[in-house]
Homo-oligomer: 324 residues x 2
């Protein structure tokens, strides 16, 4: 297998919370222990992994708790909810992976680092919030929330109204220098959970949080380029990216170049809410990577090693890749 | 001033949440910005600080949110609530300090590390939970919670029933190797918030979380010894420790040895809920420190530099200190 280091592994929601479960903490731990076994396989095979992860169900839970308690208790801004989940999920992932490695006789530290990610206040996403989060509301409550907090809510057929927030592109990882140094020193880290805590720089140059959600795959792409990763491994709930997904003429892709990927994107093969950001993250990583051998691989959780050995997953490489 | 490095700074609750405020996130940020100015003064004076902090009001807020949402949403175990606050408060403290330093032309990273702290499952605290947390309940609700979750609740005169949890002593900081290495390399870190996420090792040697709260000053003492800190600076809401506190014969202490401190402790000068753990943490640090020049200093937030210059605060040193 490909053992150049580091490999940035972006874990999808299903690595920790499964859509068919209530998703409480014992279940999240059970899923994370299973995920840790796959990550440990990768590490045992020589992979120097740097882990990042989504937080959709968890941040939704925090938001809904805060919402239900809002008559009595102060609210948490969205970016602080994200920071909370980085703490909780970072703790869980680091603990499960450390335990799994130790049970195999590998005594290595795994550490979660709280990570902020800078976005551009002029990002068009702030004019056009599209990312749905939190609870569903009835129309009257939705109108009240829009009035009281300036939220934008959209009507979702048969489910009610839901808040939408901006999903700007990540520009820079605030803690990147330390993360890069530690990753290059072989440290196992969990970073930028949930796409990172979104921050902007104000007129004085100070960082401050902003209510937004950053796509975790886009942040993973930025992270992979910043640490000069050989591979960005985007772990999801399908084994391969497909053209004409879920249609009679569906065709899985084993390998494509960034040009092909962009062409398929333009043709609408990869929807915005699901495969689109993963492909964009892959292309973005490859265009910003200084390594001609860089590759982005999209694969299932159970297939990480097979995918690195090119027996599963979808490989995306630059047009000028030695193996293009 | 004393500039040997590192200095472990243990921030009390009032550095972030003030008892006279509602304590919402904008207020916490405002308080933290003020705290960051004092920390930046210390850093500008040459102090290599390693920051830890309490989380009482914040973890109480999470617990109460979860409680109020419990009919509809899954609960978070106490240690996961602690991990959440490490994420949120670590983000806040690191951001405020980074901004303050930058505004002074000091371009340094400040990073929060999620930190677990091992406790002994045989610690007598598990047989005798004493630390009150979360909401107050009426008697019938208290009985229901005791039945349903096995909680221990105690009656508090005129306020109702409240859950009490074990407060075991910290034994080891799980992430200590990385923290020590980074602190020695001059990195500014926020670690072990709220005393650390309490974990035990099970029969197989695996770490797992346990419902408990670790005193943040005791963890700060352990941390200070582990990183071979010159100074443990415990920041609180009084300028000096006092004998006969709040009595007519109150007498502030400028300086004491560990023997004197233990004698005063035995005489009941330092109550368990307030100054007691700070003195115990100081003694514990000094007894475990390998530096003969080590000192623990208890002081007010605004007086950190004066205290290090011996113009404020209470200094605690070993009996065999060169300056004892």
């Amino acid at each position: 297998m490909r053992v150049e280091s580091p490999i940035v592994v972006a874990l999808g929601g299903n690595a920790i919370s499964r859509p068919d479960q209530l998703g409480d903490i014992p279940q999240q731990f059970e899923n994370t222990r299973r995920t840790a076994r796959h990550l440990a396989d990768l590490i045992e095979s020589g992979g120097q992994v740097l882990i990042t992860h989504g937080n959709g169900p968890q941040v939704g839970h925090v938001l809904r708790c805060v919402e239900l308690a809002a008559r009595e208790l102060y609210r948490l801004p969205l970016e602080v909810c994200g920071a909370y989940t980085q703490g909780g999920m970072g703790y869980m992932i680091a603990q499960c992976l450390r335990n799994e490695l130790r049970s195999r006789g590998i005594d290595r530290d795994v550490t979660a680092v709280i990570t902020s990610v800078e976005v551009d206040p002029a990002d068009p996403a702030f004019q056009n919030p599209t990312k749905p989060i939190g609870s569903f509301y009835r129309k009257d409550k939705a109108e009240e929330l829009a009035r009281e907090y300036g939220w934008k809510l959209v009507s979702i057929p048969r489910q009610g109204y839901r808040r939408v927030v901006p999903s700007p592109l990540p520009k820079a990882i605030v803690e990147i220098e330390l993360i890069r140094r530690l990753a290059q020193a072989g440290e196992l880290l969990v970073v930028a959970g949930g796409g990172g805590i979104p921050v902007v720089r104000d007129a004085e140059g100070n960082y401050r949080g902003i209510e937004a959600v950053i796509d975790k795959d886009r942040t993973a792409g930025l992270l992979a380029a910043a640490v000069q990763a050989a591979t960005l491994l985007i772990v999801t709930n399908v084994d391969r990216v497909a053209l004409n997904y879920q249609q009679p003429n569906e065709r899985p892709i084993e390998r494509m170049t960034t040009s092909q990927a962009q062409q398929y994107l333009a043709q609408g093969h990869f929807p915005a809410g699901s495969m689109g950001p993963k492909i964009e993250a892959a292309v973005d990583f490859l265009e910003n990577s200084q390594r001609p051998d860089a590759a982005a691989v999209i694969c299932g959780l159970e297939k990480m090693i097979e995918a690195l050995e090119r027996r599963s997953g979808t490989w995306i490489v630059t047009d000028h890749s030695p193996t293009a």
